[in-house]
Symmetry: C2
Subunit: 317 residues, 2 copies
């Protein structure tokens, strides 16, 4: 089958990659897949991943209870049998594989194999192009599981990229006051079109006033800015991993009794619901689409600072 493979730091399209069927998992024939910031980090050596990339996808289940249906799949494949799983944290199972990220071939291919427990049917009302955003929308929904956000909360989101945009939409659904701080007027304008307040980074005056600050910058400067923007006893949510080491003063966390909360993968069911009922709008985040054969061009496009989301068209439904 066709697959986009990572070997060392070398990305390559392979027209005849022999599929590795995973026993007990459901074969999913991929329709559409999206390139994520993590894919670009994996290419730089993050996690040391080798294999088929891709963890944002919509496909057709070929067997099991979703046979013939369009499905999306949670990416952490847990053992469901260890203390961490029993403690209710299967996404952190130390024995897990992670689709397209850790010991598990991913979705930039004609097919991938997914545990049935990870699959969710895509509602008929939801297009495949929208459903491919389920994984990043779920990551944004994770914040609502971790932090108490109500209609009275004030939330600042640092970063106007893909994830900042989705976090802003998901958190706005609570009725809270969201302000997005970004560097790109054209990205901020898309948020203003959704009635979300925005401010350019150069005009932003942090004032230790927000109940919650979400760092989606992916840069080392985001965390210190977040500490300047959050109120005493407030929450700073770290949504993006920064691979680089950085110099920091931790004393402000103690003095202001801030809670810093790491936030990663989230629940698919509410994400699908938010996409289906239109609370989260994603169609205007698609910057370009490529066939699998054009892997190099697609990744080059995704790496441009002006790009939001690049999709692979793998098959038609």
């Amino acid at each position: 089958m066709r697959a986009i493979r990572l070997n060392g730091n070398q990305l390559s399209f392979q027209g005849e990659h022999p599929p590795v069927e995973l026993d007990g998992f459901i074969k999913v024939d991929v329709l559409t897949a999206g390139i994520c910031e993590t894919d670009m980090q994996l290419r730089q050596g993050y996690m040391g991943f080798q294999g088929t990339l891709g963890h944002e996808f919509v496909g057709l289940a070929t067997s099991g209870r979703f046979a013939g249906q369009r499905v999306v799949g949670e990416i952490n494949c847990a053992c469901h049998n260890c203390p961490v799983c029993h403690a209710g944290h299967p996404r952190h199972c130390p024995h897990r594989t992670v689709i397209g990220i850790l010991n598990h071939d991913g979705a930039f291919a004609d097919s991938l194999w997914v545990p049935e427990a990870n699959l969710h049917a895509v509602p008929d009302s939801l297009s495949t192009d929208e459903a491919v955003f389920t994984e990043p929308v779920a990551a944004a929904c994770r914040i609502l599981e971790q932090v108490d956000i109500t209609a009275e909360s004030t939330v600042i989101i640092l970063g106007d990229g893909r994830l900042g945009n989705l976090c802003a939409q998901v958190l706005s659904s609570t009725g809270c006051a969201v302000q997005v701080v970004g560097k790109h007027d054209w990205k901020l304008r898309r948020l203003r079109d959704l009635n979300i307040s925005t401010v350019e980074l150069s005009d932003f005056q942090p004032s230790k006033s927000a109940d919650v600050v979400v760092d989606c910058t992916g840069s080392t400067s985001g965390f210190e800015l977040a500490l300047q923007a959050v109120q005493p006893c407030g929450d700073v949510v770290l949504k993006t991993t920064v691979a680089a080491e950085q110099s920091l003063h931790l004393a402000p966390i103690v003095i202001d009794e801030v809670r810093v909360i790491g936030s990663r993968c989230g629940p698919f069911a509410p994400a699908l619901q938010m996409l289906a009922d239109g609370r989260v709008q994603v169609k205007n985040l698609i910057s370009a689409r490529y066939p699998l054969e054009e892997a190099q061009n697609a990744f080059s496009h995704a790496e441009q600072p002006d790009t939001l989301k690049v999709l692979f068209d793998v098959a038609d439904k």
Copy 2:
């Protein structure tokens, strides 16, 4: 009156310092006061404090509803009238003074002035030497307000100094499993005498297994060790301020979805109760006692690594 003053980095005993009476506050005649790690940091320039040092004290209230009684006093003096106070965080009031730390003369003196709302009567059953530990015990009690710790929780405390000892005792009172990691066998032995589990740092094998890790090391290495010891979705409580900048990778916080919680001052009422009913034992933490006149010797003693708590005997009751 007598007072130990900080001018620049110069600590000096003054036999005839003119008292500055604070209007509307209660004059408290000091009986005993304790030197805290923060006092030594203030002497190094922390907070830029200038004035009379001392924030751990027991005294006699000279007026108001506690007149004639032994009292201890919470150290943050809030305005009770701003958005932060109204949000329920008076200890973080931006207009506050902090006794012996910020714009408020402290307790290493014959008298100090304290808002009546900050005072708590010392139970008759509690000795003055024990009650002088109320402020640091309250700081340990703060953790119980911030983190859900039950009899089923596993807690690791990094650091076997004064604060590590008190945190271990306070958290043990919940019935949870506490283990203290330290460098000094004689300090760890005191904890084992209280039936608290201990391990030498050189023998400690962090295994991402603790529900809660409390960093009381006061050193830059504590935080990274805490991240290695806490389980996914667990809590790291930062209890000590480290003035120095440090190099850090924040990615593990995100990947393991750890919550990092800054923790500072705490509630006096439960601290007094724990001291009064013997759940927290402090008498064997007193290393030495000095009169105010021997300020230099007392601070030199407190700075020795083998010292736990140094007290000033200010007056007899």
